[in-house]
């Protein structure tokens, strides 16, 4: 019942965010895995289901505009719940960045990471409540503003 990785990839297959949890993969293993999964998922059409079995992961993906959100989970996880989780991530990002786009995530990668950390603890979903997630993030922003 754990999320193994979250990938944000654009239409061209470039990784915009990668977060691995639960088990450690070396840089090479990560790159290879990302390559395989991105190729597999991006080649699928909209009429095909967005759940793919890859190695021992179930990969669930959703597309938002030019960005693909791919989440790898283990066998026991509920696919539909992960779809809802992805949507929740997107909504939270939307609320935080205000009409989120690929560039927001690119240039505020650390914020995006922090946001995910507030939602997940090593692959287990911690919280899905938007204001709960964003409160610490906004606090950090304030600290940053006051320091600069």
């Amino acid at each position: 019942m754990t999320i193994k990785f979250i990938l944000l990839v654009n239409k061209q297959g470039q990784t915009r965010l990668a977060k691995y949890t639960d088990e450690f993969l070396t840089v090479d293993e990560r790159t290879m895995l990302e390559g395989e999964i991105v190729r597999k998922c991006l080649s699928r059409t909209e009429r095909q289901c967005s759940i793919v079995q890859h190695r021992n992961y179930k990969v669930i993906y959703r597309r938002y505009a030019s960005l693909f959100f791919l989440v790898g989970v283990d066998e026991e996880e509920n696919e539909l719940a992960i779809m809802e989780f992805i949507h929740c991530v997107v909504e939270t990002m939307d609320r935080y960045f205000g009409n989120v786009c690929e560039l927001d995530i690119m240039f505020h990668i650390e914020k995006a990471h922090y946001l995910l950390d507030e939602m997940l603890v090593n692959g287990t979903i911690l919280d899905t409540n938007r204001s709960n997630i964003l409160t610490p993030l906004q606090m950090l922003d304030k600290a940053q503003q006051s320091s600069s």
Binding site: A18, F24, Q48, C49, S50, I51, A81, I109, D117, L140
Partner: protein, 878 residues
């Protein structure tokens, strides 16, 4: 974040990468060099920004393990904004092998007891990602302490981090468990939810340990308003119900309520899987679940469809008869565009098919082959083949039909299942006598089709052609059109097939030819008239002069034979260029037979020759039952344990000496003999019993001769026993197969466990961090049911936190240090006093146990006392 004047910020670097799209690699290389310089800076700001950039590059696939020490530097800065960067970098790049890991224990400890919620949360989060055995052991008390913090976000996070620690340090589970469960009554729903998440993970891994908690979970299920939590609870019940069928009745009502009221498909889907995993005995709830499942399967959304079929696959495994009605829906899905859905549907079909509807289903599956791509075609063929051969063709009632299906499958372009098809055709022809005629007729269409032969060049259809040729030759009596068959067997296209197939073709020609000739010339003893009539009409197409002139009948027969042999001789030379010795040999055999026949003018000689040849090839190959060997009674005087070959092995020992001697003497004859002896010895290990006996005898005789010849070289050997022993072992192993293996010595087994434990202890002292492996070894037998990628973790947590303590078992006293001990003091006492204890399932042998007991001098504690003890200790401490 303040950036020094000349340093590029992360933002600058990212935009730089974007603007240098064409030589991005070069740009990154340049940035990496800058980062390396900047990391050495004494200015913390510069260092932090550099680390931030490095972390970003690491995410894109560049190594940053070399910067581990800099990560620790940034982590230990007092400024929160810098810290966050450091922690993020650590969470991303540290692993069990990172050597600087030892440096961060105190750092994390400081964070965990900090008053700043952000520091606590980044500390906890970092720990959850990089936790190792050492970190878990050193920090679990602090994490556990945070569980009773006043801040709800902190409580819920620490519950989940505790679970991460348990995975690395399973012994902590028992002492922490009670405190964890207490938070199921937390007034903050989100805390309850995360505790349920932890319990869910624990239950899934070892459900039998948590059965007692079912009433608690039931209460939570009734009161849950949070879908995420309900899903976790359903998962818990999904794991518990298979173990405790009475639970099913209990949760039927709440499940029904959820299913009928919820709007969330995800929750609904979890309900369905829960029903499937352990509640299939309750018809009512199954009906309800299947009703919802139908909506999934028929939905136009491919995701729901796919998940519907996946759930259906599970139902098929448990209650195939109840889900029969989905067969049609599955068949309809074979034409969807999504290969994942199709595969799932195929698996459902394969599970649902019955003897009655086999034909219809197979035909409907095969319908999709012409329009499918190669991969899908192969998938479809595979399903058909596996369905039909299941349980020794138990579903197939009409083999004649199935043979034609097999032939049809063989023609599927790009098929990779040639081998299976070939096997099944041969299998059916061998096993089912009545089917041989049909088999020969079915394969005929493959044999005479030049297009199929052309296809055989590549892919696996060559195997099918081989089987085809074999069947035609072996069952030549059913060949209806001999001339056509022989022509087909002589097609020039065959030269392009693999050599083994060619050899089979030549053999088939010989068999068919011998058979025809024999039938022609030898059958006149019995019902000559009718036979010859049949002969005339069927064997030689369009040539019925045999019938017209009875006086020249014999000559005519010879004529027919000659015609056939001319035909063969004219074409058989095409094989003469083949490099394969097998093909060449068979070709020359065939030619020799034909030449022999050519040279004979007298029909009597021909008759003579061919009746003999026919005798050779017509002996039928009988299928042998796999259990045949068992039916042969064991002779009473059969000795399988005593060395039967003592003498031989003894002599073999001498033989080696002899060999050496022989080498010196350079006696060629002797060396031949002895090497033969060695061959026999080698064959002994591989051959069947009979062959072995034969080989033994030959070897013995040879040795005898050898001894007689070279008696001078032999010394009387005292080493009989040693050599004999070795031989006995070898022989015994082969023969003893049916003899039951002696039971594994239990005490020895547990002794190894204890060994593992002691080595574990030793390892621990040396700060090695792989206890999980050892734990797996101990508990291997406990949970072998489900295979999963997290197997190590799965076994690691098989500690029953609910069970009373065993006599002599001691808990690592985590609870004695719940919230407050200063981080700059000594190591906590629980660490020094800690000794790995035997978990419930690993019992040491009595002697060992005694030792442990006396060493630890523990009193027997009742469960009550155990539960009371930590609190007392806490009180004493504070």
């Amino acid at each position: 974040m303040g950036i020094s004047l000349f340093q590029k910020s992360l933002r600058d670097m990212i935009s730089g990468m974007r603007s240098n799209r064409n030589n991005e690699e070069k740009y990154i290389q340049k940035s990496m060099e800058d980062i390396k310089k900047e990391l050495k800076s004494t200015d913390m700001k510069v260092k932090t920004v550099a680390l931030q950039k490095l972390t970003y590059l690491n995410m894109l696939g560049f190594d940053m393990s070399w910067a581990a020490f800099h990560v620790v530097e940034v982590m230990s800065t007092p400024k929160l904004l810098h810290k966050v960067v450091g922690y993020q970098a650590a969470a991303q790049s540290f692993n069990e092998g990172t050597d600087v890991m030892l440096l961060i224990t105190n750092l994390l400890k400081k964070d965990l007891i900090s008053t700043n919620p952000t520091e606590r949360s980044i500390g906890l989060d970092c720990l959850s990602n990089i936790v190792t055995l050492d970190l878990a052991r050193d920090l679990i008390a602090d994490v556990y302490g945070l569980l009773s913090s006043s801040s709800a976000p902190c409580r819920k996070r620490s519950a989940l981090v505790l679970y991460c620690c348990f995975l690395k340090y399973p012994d902590a589970l028992r002492p922490c468990f009670k405190g964890l469960v207490e938070h199921l009554d937390d007034h903050e729903q989100s805390v309850v939810c995360s505790v349920v998440s932890v319990l869910c993970e624990l239950v899934i891994k070892h459900p039998h340990n948590y059965l007692e908690m079912a009433p608690l979970f039931y209460r939570l299920l009734l009161n849950s308003t949070n879908n995420w939590m309900t899903m976790k609870l359903l998962k818990i019940f999904g794991a518990l119900t298979p173990l405790e069928p009475r639970l099913t009745k209990k949760i039927v009502e709440p499940l029904k309520n959820i299913m009928s009221s919820t709007m969330a498909k995800s929750l609904l889907f979890d309900c369905i899987t829960t029903v499937c995993s352990g509640m299939t005995s309750n018809e009512e709830i199954v009906e309800m679940a299947l009703g919802h499942l139908k909506d999934f399967v028929l939905d136009s959304d491919p995701n729901l469809k796919y998940l519907g079929f996946k759930a259906l696959e599970q139902f098929v495994k448990h209650i195939p008869e109840t889900v029969l009605r989905f067969g049609n829906a599955a068949l309809m899905c074979l034409s969807t565009a999504d290969p994942t859905i199709r595969s799932s549907a195929l698996r459902v079909i394969s599970g649902l098919v019955s003897k009655k509807d086999l034909k219809e289903v197979i035909v409907r599956v095969l319908e999709h082959i012409p329009s499918a791509d190669t991969a899908y075609r192969n998938e479809l063929s595979e399903v058909v083949l596996s369905i039909c051969c299941r349980d020794k063709y138990s579903l197939v009632s009409d083999f004649s039909w199935y043979l034609n299906i097999l032939v049809e499958l063989a023609r599927v372009p790009g098929s990779v299942h040639g081998k299976t098809i070939a096997f099944q055709i041969t299998d059916i022809a061998c096993r089912v006598e009545a089917m041989r005629d049909d088999a020969v007729q079915a394969v005929r269409s493959l044999l005479i089709d030049p297009f199929v032969v052309e296809m055989g060049k590549s892919g696996s259809i060559g195997e099918v052609l081989k089987a085809t040729a074999w069947i035609t030759g072996e069952y030549a009596s059913f060949v209806e059109h001999p001339k056509e068959t022989i022509e087909a067997l002589l097609q020039p296209g065959i030269l392009k097939l693999p050599c083994s197939v060619q050899a089979m073709y030549i053999q088939a020609i010989l068999k068919v030819f011998v058979h025809i000739t024999n039938d022609l010339v030898c059958d006149d003893d019995a019902d000559e008239a009718s036979q010859s009539e049949k002969d005339g009409s069927t064997w030689v197409e369009g040539e019925d002069d045999a019938e017209e002139d009875n006086g020249d009948e014999e000559l005519d027969k010879l004529g027919v034979v000659n015609e056939l042999s001319d035909l063969i001789l004219a074409h058989v030379d095409q094989y003469s260029d083949t490099p394969d010795p097998e093909v060449v040999e068979r070709m020359s055999q065939l030619k020799a037979v034909l030449d022999l026949q050519k040279g004979m003018d007298d029909i009597k000689d021909v008759k003579d020759l061919f009746s003999k040849l026919h005798g050779i090839i017509s002996e039928e190959l009988q299928p042998i039952s796999g259990k045949a060997q068992k039916k042969v009674p064991l002779p009473e005087d059969l000795q399988v344990i005593d060395p039967i070959m003592e003498e031989f092995f003894d002599e073999e020992f001498d033989l080696q000496q002899a060999e050496e001697d022989v080498e010196v003497a350079d006696n060629q004859a002797a060396s031949v003999t002895s090497s033969r002896g060695m061959d026999a010895a080698q064959a002994l290990t591989e051959a069947t019993e009979e062959q072995k006996k034969f080989a033994d005898e030959t070897a013995k005789n040879q040795l005898k001769q050898h001894r007689e010849k070279h008696g001078v070289f032999y010394l009387s050997s005292d080493d009989k026993q040693g050599a004999g022993d070795m031989g006995e072992d070898d022989g015994g192993e082969v023969e003893n197969v049916s003899v039951q293996e002696p039971p594994v010595d239990v005490s020895e087994d547990s002794a190894t466990k204890v060994d593992a434990l002691t080595s574990y202890r030793r390892k621990k002292k040396k700060k090695k961090k792989q206890p999980t492996d050892l734990v797996v070894k101990q508990d291997e037998d406990v949970n072998e049911g489900v295979d999963s990628p997290v197997k190590i973790n799965k076994n690691a947590l098989d500690v029953n936190p609910l069970a009373p303590l065993e006599d002599g078992e001691e808990l690592p006293s985590v609870e004695a240090y719940p919230t407050s001990y200063s981080n700059e003091g000594d190591m906590p006492t629980y660490e020094t006093s800690y000794e790995p204890v035997h978990s419930q399932n690993t019992e040491a042998p009595p002697a060992e146990k005694q030792k442990h007991k006396s060493r630890r001098r523990r009193k027997h504690k009742s469960r009550k006392e155990k539960e009371g003890a930590p609190q007392e200790a806490t009180a004493a401490e504070t």
